[in-house]
C-alpha cells in the first residue's frame, strides 16, 4: 500500500501537528473552559515531562532499536538523586545522576553493539537488573528529598513554565544533533539499513553506544524533573512512563522499524496524547475509559500515519502487495523466482 500523500519531510512533520491543532480546536469548541492560558500552560508542562523522557526513545527507535529500561533507569536515577541530596551533595547530584544514566545507557549500547544482543532483550534484562539495584540500594524505602535545582526546573514558572523552556532547549539540541551532525546522519543511516551502513564503514558500534547513552541520560533528566515535581523519590515512579514514551514516538509518525522520523514529530505526539488525556479528564470518563481511549488513539494515529505518510511498514513485513502490483507477479511466479 502506497501512502496517500507525497513523501516529503515537510508532510511527515505537518501531519501530526495538523492533528494536534484539530484536537485542540475540537476540545476548545466542545469543552467549556478548555484552552485558557493557565490550562494550556499546564498541558504543555505535563507534555514536557513525557516529551523529555521520550528523547531517548526517539533516538533508539530511529536507530532501529528500542529502550525498555526507561522505567527503572528513571527510578534508579531518582532514588540516587534524593540520596545524594541527603548526603549534602546539593545540586551537583543532578549532574552526577545524569552522568550515571548515560553510563548505564552506554552499557546497554555496548551489549547491543558488541555482543549482538537484540535491543529488546538487552534493555529488558537491564530493566530487571536496574530494578534489583534500585530495591537493593533503597532497601524498599527511598531516602532524602529533591535538590533545589530539580524543584526549580520542574515547578517554577517565568510566564511559561521553566520545564517547557527546558524542553524547548533540549528539543533544539536534539534536532540539531540528529539533522546536522555526522552522528545524527549515521543514526538515520544505520536505522534505515544496517548492512548498507556497515558496508559504508559507518562507525555502527560508537553510534549505537552513543544513542543508548543519550537514552539513559534523558531518562535521568526525566527522573530529576519528576523528583523535583513530587519533592521525593518513590518506588515504581518510572512504571507509568515506559509505554507512553514508545507510544508518543510512534504517534508522531516515526517508523518503529527505524530510519524515518524526527524528534519534532515526537513533540507533536507528546502534545497530542497530553491534550487527549486532559480532555478525557475534563469529561469525567474514568480510569477504564481513559485507558481504552488511550489505546484507540494510538491505533488511530498508526492508521493515519500509515495512510498518509508511512505507507505499509517495510522491514519485517514483506511487501507482497507491492511486488504483485508493481511487477505483476503472482504467488506462483514469486515461488518460481525464489527457487534457485
Amino acid at each position: 500500500m502506497k501512502p496517500l500523500l507525497r513523501n516529503s519531510r515537510a508532510v511527515e512533520i505537518a501531519v501530526p501537528y495538523i492533528l494536534v491543532l484539530i484536537a485542540l480546536a475540537l476540545a476548545v469548541l466542545m469543552i467549556p473552559g478548555f484552552g485558557s492560558g493557565s490550562h494550556l500552560r499546564a498541558i504543555s508542562a505535563s507534555a514536557a515531562y513525557i516529551g523529555i523522557i521520550a528523547i531517548g526513545q526517539t533516538v533508539t527507535i530511529l536507530l532501529g532499536g528500542i529502550d525498555l529500561s526507561v522505567a527503572y533507569m528513571l527510578n534508579l536515577a531518582a532514588v540516587v538523586l534524593t540520596a545524594l541530596q541527603a548526603a549534602e551533595w546539593g545540586n551537583g547530584g543532578v549532574f552526577l545522576v545524569i552522568l550515571l544514566g548515560a553510563i548505564i545507557g552506554a552499557l546497554n549500547g555496548a551489549g547491543i553493539a558488541f555482543l549482538n544482543i537484540s535491543p529488546l532483550v538487552m534493555t529488558l534484562g537491564m530493566n530487571s537488573i536496574l530494578q534489583g539495584a534500585t530495591l537493593l540500594y533503597t532497601n524498599g524505602a527511598p531516602k532524602g528529598y529533591a535538590p533545589d535545582l530539580a524543584t526549580t526546573l520542574s515547578t517554577d514558572s517565568i510566564g511559561i513554565p521553566v520545564v517547557v523552556l527546558l524542553w524547548l532547549g533540549l528539543a533544539i539540541v536534539v534536532t540539531v544533533l540528529l539533522k546536522t551532525t555526522t552522528f545524527g546522519r549515521g543514526l538515520y543511516s544505520v536505522g534505515s539499513n544496517r548492512v548498507a551502513s556497515m558496508l559504508c564503514a559507518l562507525p555502527i558500534k560508537p553510534i549505537t553506544i552513543t544513542a543508548y547513552a543519550i537514552s539513559g541520560a534523558s531518562a535521568a533528566v526525566g527522573a530529576v524533573l519528576l523528583v523535583g515535581y513530587s519533592g521525593q523519590a518513590y518506588l515504581g515512579m518510572g512504571d507509568n512512563y515506559l509505554l507512553p514514551s514508545i507510544a508518543i514516538v510512534v504517534i508522531g509518525g516515526t517508523s518503529i522499524f527505524g530510519g524515518r522520523g524526527s524528534y519534532i514529530q515526537t513533540i507533536a505526539g507528546a502534545l497530542l496524547i497530553t491534550l487527549a488525556e486532559s480532555a478525557l479528564v475534563t469529561v469525567h470518563i474514568g480510569n477504564a475509559g481513559k485507558e481504552i481511549m488511550y489505546g484507540v488513539i494510538i491505533l488511530l494515529m498508526m492508521f493515519i500515519n500509515q495512510l498518509t505518510v508511512l505507507g505499509n511498514p517495510g522491514v519485517g513485513r514483506p511487501s507482497r502487495w507491492r511486488s504483485r502490483h508493481r511487477t505483476g507477479t503472482s504467488r506462483a511466479s514469486v515461488g518460481a523466482s525464489a527457487t534457485p
Partner: protein
Amino acid sequence: MIVGPAASPALPRYIPWSRAYIPFALAAVLVLVDIGQRGGNLSHFQILGIANSALPLALVGMGEAIVILTNGIDLSVGAIVGLATGIVAVVDQAAGILGIVAALAAGCVAGLINGLLVSFGRMASLIVTLATGSIFGGFALLVLPSPGGVAPSWLYHATVGSLGAVPVATLWLVALVILGWLILRRTSFGIFLQCLGSSETASWAAGVPTRRTTLLAYMSSGLFAALAGVTLAGLTGSGDPNIGNIYILNAIAVVVVGGTDLFGGRGTLSGTVFGAVVLSLVASVLFTSGLSTNIQYIVTGGIVIAALLAQTIKFRRTGDGFSRLSTWFRRGRTGRVS
C-alpha cells in the same frame, strides 16, 4: 515417490530440540542446587510453590512464544491476564464453568482483534499490542474496578491444589510440554508458524496461508493468556485487573530463556515451559539461600541476557521452518519420513 535416506541426507531432526536442552539443563541444575541447599529434602510444599508460580508464567510464555515464532510480539498479554481474572471473579459462582468459558472467550476475541490488526491491518505488532493492551486493560477495569470478587473454590483444586502427593500444577506443566511439542511438530499450523517467522514473503510464495496463520497465532496467544488469568484467579481465589502487568515483560523473558529466537522461525514451545520453571526456581533458590529477594531481579535480568547470548553463539545453524516444511510435505505424501 519414495523418499529414502539418500534423498534427505542433511535433515538431522533432533537438532531443533537442542533449543529446548539449555532451559531444561538449567532447570535441572537449579533443582539440584535447590535440593542441595535444603539439605537434600525438597518438601511437597516447596515443589507446590515452585510449580504454582511457574504455571501461569508458562501459560503466558506459551502464547507469547507462538507469536514470537512468527516474528511478532504481543505486549497485550498482561492486560488479557487481568481481564480473565476479573471475568472469572465477577461471574456468579452458581453459573459453574460459565465464568471460565467467558474468560477464555474474551481472550480469544482479544487475540482475534490483535491478529486482525497485524495480519489484515498490516501494522507493527509491537504498536498494535501496546495499544490494544491499553484497551483490554481498560475493559479489565470496567469488569472489575478494583481487586476483589470470588473465584470458584473448585478452580483452586483444579489448577494449583494437589492431587494426593502430586501438585496439580506439575501435571499441567507436563501436559503443556507435550502440547507444545504436538503443536509445533505435529500440526501444519506449527510448521507454518516457523515458516512465517523465517520469511513471510517466502512463506507466502510457498503457499503458506500467512494471514490465517498470523491470525491464529495471536488468537492462541490471547487464549493462553486468558488461561493464565484463570489459573491466577484459582491461585489467589479472587480477581485483580492489574495482576497481569508483571507478565508483560516476564512473558518475553520466559520465551528468551526458553531458547526461542526473538526474530522468529526457530524455537520450541516446550523450552518455554522449562524457561518458566527456571525463572521460578531462581526465585526459590535465592529465597532458600538467604540472599535478599531484591537480588532476584538482578539475577533474572542476567539470566535473560545470558540466555540470548548463548543463543546467538550456539544456535546459528539449527534448522528453520523451511527444512521442516519440506519434511512435512514429504511426510504428507509418503506417510513417513525415513
